[in-house]
């Protein structure tokens, strides 16, 4: 009886010790294996489905008051694109800036900054939540993306709106890009913003135009937008995951 008891205890001891070791070293190996990263990523689809079930297109992100504004809206990621074309546009105070809108649309067209400002605008004070954990509150003015979509008339086959940006992210010259689906694209608070806190959008915050997707995290809100493309799939663009950070393991749906 005693020896049986001892062997049982030894077994449990071994389970505990090896369990602990597995946790500490095994998890890091699991993180690097493709199948396990994919398995963990399956929770993303679950979260996405759950949030889409709960949130209608009408569900609005919270809006704040002037009293809540952050004293300085911090810049993150690129603060000044290392791109000669962009620098030339900036030197001319973006007078020559032309936003191209195309892809799966009936009427592709380009917009100057003045064209965008001539469209009805929306102003909103919202909270910007970075994936790193911090939040900042800013006042954005811009044209609703839906106004632009109405003008270019997306084909029925279009499923995503892709934002191509001016900022190179590394020495290879790969530029930032992002994508959202039409559910978010048509949302009332989704803006092509050209003003922050009552002044023209500063370069560090994405001049001349950045997107606001208020129900998602900051990395979805691409800065320095040069071209908007409507597509039916994302796998043929860059790394195929729908965004610069998505290609590096971050979730495409950034509602959490």
């Amino acid at each position: 009886m005693t020896s049986q008891k001892n062997s049982r205890r030894r077994f449990l001891q071994r389970v505990l010790v090896s369990g602990g070791a597995l946790l500490l070293s095994g998890c890091d190996q699991l993180s690097r294996s493709e199948w396990f990263a994919k398995l963990l990523g399956s929770a993303e689809r679950l979260s996405f489905a759950a949030q889409r079930l709960l949130l209608t297109r009408k569900a609005m992100a919270q809006e704040f008051t002037e009293a809540d504004l952050s004293p300085d809206f911090r810049s993150n990621g690129t603060s000044n694109p290392d791109n000669p074309e962009y620098q030339a546009l900036a030197a001319g105070r973006f007078a020559d800036y032309r936003l191209q809108v195309g892809g799966l649309v009936a009427r592709p067209r380009t917009y100057s900054l003045d064209d965008l400002k001539a469209l009805p605008s929306r102003t909103q004070i919202t909270r910007h939540d970075c994936v790193e954990g911090w939040s900042a509150i800013g006042k954005w003015k811009g044209v609703q993306l839906s106004r632009v979509l109405e003008q270019v008339e997306p084909h029925a086959s279009a499923r995503y709106v892709v934002f191509h940006c001016a900022d190179p992210m590394d020495v290879s010259g790969e530029r930032y890009y992002e994508s959202i689906d039409l559910e978010d694209a048509w949302h009332a608070q989704t803006l092509l913003a050209y003003e922050l806190n009552d002044v023209p959008l500063p370069i560090k915050n994405g001049a001349p135009v950045r997107v606001r997707v208020e129900r998602q995290l900051g990395y979805k809100m691409a800065k320095y937008i040069m071209r908007i493309e409507l597509v039916d799939r994302l796998d043929h663009i860059a790394g195929g995951e729908g965004g610069y950070w998505e290609d590096r393991g971050y979730e495409w749906y950034a509602g959490i």
């Binding site: 449990l12 998890c27 990523g41 929770a43 952050s70 300085d72 911090r74 994936v131 509150i137």
Partner: protein, 281 residues
């Protein structure tokens, strides 16, 4: 539930203390909580500060901030600032790792998942096991209600409340219950379990949801009830450590009231009741 067992020596009684669903859900919870804690600290390290309010830039300094700086001699030191008081935490918080290869980071590599700084992977672990924790928790609540485990074993009785003073004394003196009393949870144990199940874990999960910009839009403004998104992040962090505190006290009690007997009962279900006369297991 207690099935009396003829025992191998005298008065010793064995019974099935934990039904298999409870045992299974307990260990799933242990695994999920540990992974959530470690991946949570990985996520925390991406912005190793805690604020109170709607945003991180309110003009007020953070409640807690972990970082690294140079000291007067020009050597890097890890510093933790809590409510304006600064502490040197070199080696653990702010600056950690082996000598010669010290790295600036909030929490050290041995407690984060993954070990290296890797926010995207930390988030994957965190949100996968968050679902595990929530589904497991809901299954647990459903089971405890359906099996009447909740009303029969966890809800304090009137005599429990009357014994609260005695229970405090027993805990401080590390005195284990004997005989019939050892078949039941004591009042402090019941209160600890109930507060973890119905207060701390739900609050932890709710504060996790409060950080989601998507779920913020469900009822715009609901997060302000807790002071805003950054307050929610601070509460999430604090509650996680309260649960770690609970886990340590829980483990301590498991050890002092008969480690193998308790561990066996949570693995196989079988528990040996303390004899009236023989004291500690």
């Amino acid at each position: 539930m207690p099935s009396h067992d003829a025992s191998e020596r005298g008065q010793t009684a064995w019974y099935l203390r934990h039904a298999w669903p409870i045992r299974l859900m307990h260990w799933i919870n242990v695994l999920a909580f540990m992974l959530l804690l470690m991946s949570g600290l990985q996520i925390f390290n991406a912005y190793p500060a805690l604020n109170w309010g709607k945003s991180s830039y309110t003009g007020r300094p953070p409640i807690l901030q972990i970082g690294a700086r140079m000291d007067a001699q020009g050597n890097p030191v890890g510093v933790t600032r809590i409510f304006g008081h600064e502490f040197n935490t070199t080696g653990v918080l702010g600056l950690s790792g082996r000598d010669g290869e010290r790295v600036r980071r909030g929490f050290p590599a041995w407690i984060t998942l993954p070990g290296q700084q890797w926010l995207a992977m930390g988030r994957r672990w965190h949100f996968f096991f968050a679902w595990v924790l929530v589904v497991n928790g809901l299954a647990y609540i459903a089971y405890t209600l359906a099996s009447r485990h909740l009303t029969r074993d966890l809800m304090p009785t009137r005599s429990d409340w009357r014994s609260i003073g005695q229970s405090f004394k027993d805990h401080l003196l590390l005195r284990r219950a004997q005989g019939e009393a050892d078949r039941r949870y004591n009042i402090l144990q019941k209160l600890a379990y109930l507060s973890v199940i119905f207060a701390l874990l739900p609050l932890l999960i709710l504060m996790g949801w409060a950080m989601s910009p998507g779920l913020n839009a469900l009822f715009p403004g609901w997060v302000d009830v807790f002071g805003g998104r950054q307050s929610a992040r601070t509460i999430h962090f604090a509650v996680a450590w309260l649960l770690v505190g609970f886990a340590f006290i829980h483990l301590f009690e498991v050890v002092v009231s008969g480690f193998w007997n308790n561990l066996r009962s949570m693995v196989t279900g079988r528990y040996r009741v303390a004899d009236e006369e023989d004291g500690h297991d």
